[in-house]
Symmetry: C2
Subunit: 200 residues, 2 copies
């Protein structure tokens, strides 16, 4: 009885083999993506390169999108962490400049952008994945920026609201980038007036 209780509390044991297989799958996928991009990735190729059976893939990842969540989420998090390490922006213009690497990756492929949006919020707390976590991460970052006195902002608006707004405008600017009618302007050029208007 005690044993059963302990078992329920403990995380289920993971064999070293599991970690090894998982690492093989992730690195195979990463290699393929570096060669041909995210959209072109095929599960078949991943398992072939990793040297495992197809079924193994799906016992490590719920579906193909879950792998994408891992890979894209990891990259987004790396980029955000780098941005966090930099100085806080003192203007809308500097903010756009700081966000440039994030925007560059998120708009590198339409597919990447779509996956990012689709996984930005999880339907259940227990399903919060890497991409959803980066949304929390960039909310924290924006909150830090707007509460820094170095950045002049509208005092009448709650910092949390300001931060969420930055996120909304960033996504809007990236969305319009994929639209033929608006693609003459770069994401950054479009984002700056939004933020200027929102923050001051």
């Amino acid at each position: 009885m005690v044993k059963i209780l302990i078992k329920e509390i403990m995380a289920k044991p993971v064999q070293a083999r599991t970690l090894k297989t998982r690492a093989k799958l992730l690195s195979a996928a990463q290699g393929l993506i570096e060669h041909s991009g995210y959209e072109a990735l095929r599960v078949e190729e991943v398992v072939l390169k990793a040297g495992v059976a197809k079924g193994t893939f799906f016992s490590h990842f719920k579906d193909k999108d879950a792998l994408m969540d891992q890979l894209i989420g990891a990259r987004l998090s790396e980029i955000l962490t780098e941005i966090e390490a930099g100085p806080g922006p003192k203007s809308a213009s500097e903010m756009v400049a700081a966000l440039k690497p994030f925007i560059a990756f998120a708009t590198s492929e339409r597919y990447v952008f779509d996956i990012m949006l689709r996984y930005s919020g999880a339907a259940a707390i227990s399903e919060i994945g890497p991409i959803a976590q980066t949304f929390m991460q960039h909310f924290e970052l924006f909150l830090k920026w707007v509460t820094d006195p170095a950045l002049p902002t509208r005092a009448t608006i709650a910092p949390e609201l300001l931060a969420e707004g930055i996120s909304a405008f960033m996504i809007q600017a990236m969305s319009l980038n994929f639209c033929a009618l608006h693609s003459s302007v770069s994401v950054e050029e479009r984002l700056e007036p939004y933020l200027e208007a929102w923050l001051s």
Copy 2:
């Protein structure tokens, strides 16, 4: 020679049969959706109900998503047209109320919301479909609203920018609705403070 030129200028002739088949496919799809929603739709079921072969479906629609673009786009356009017919909002609160039917449909299924976002901008002018058109339609609507003196807005911001901002916040509010961490608040409740802050 003249004939060839004329042919090039003319739209390619469409047989009555084509329109009939297309109508059969659309109504079959509509019927299935009314019964089980958008996500559950299967091409196989559509052609079965319409009484045509599978290949026929794909000579009428580029792919399954193109059918969804038609169906969802048509519904969105209907809703927007009804909203347009109503009175312009005199406050952020009234604006949210006016948008309620649009929001209700767009968030009725996660799948519907995803398709809407994916088709909101077309990669090429020639590919602008029904959903992309509704985005132009709601931009026009928002522009009409913010230029109406009955709605007090920040005069320092260009009306076009204000209109795009409303769109950005509406999408942000709907996105967060699908996120477990934020689903305790309704889309409308979340949208209102955004618009309040943005417009005044």
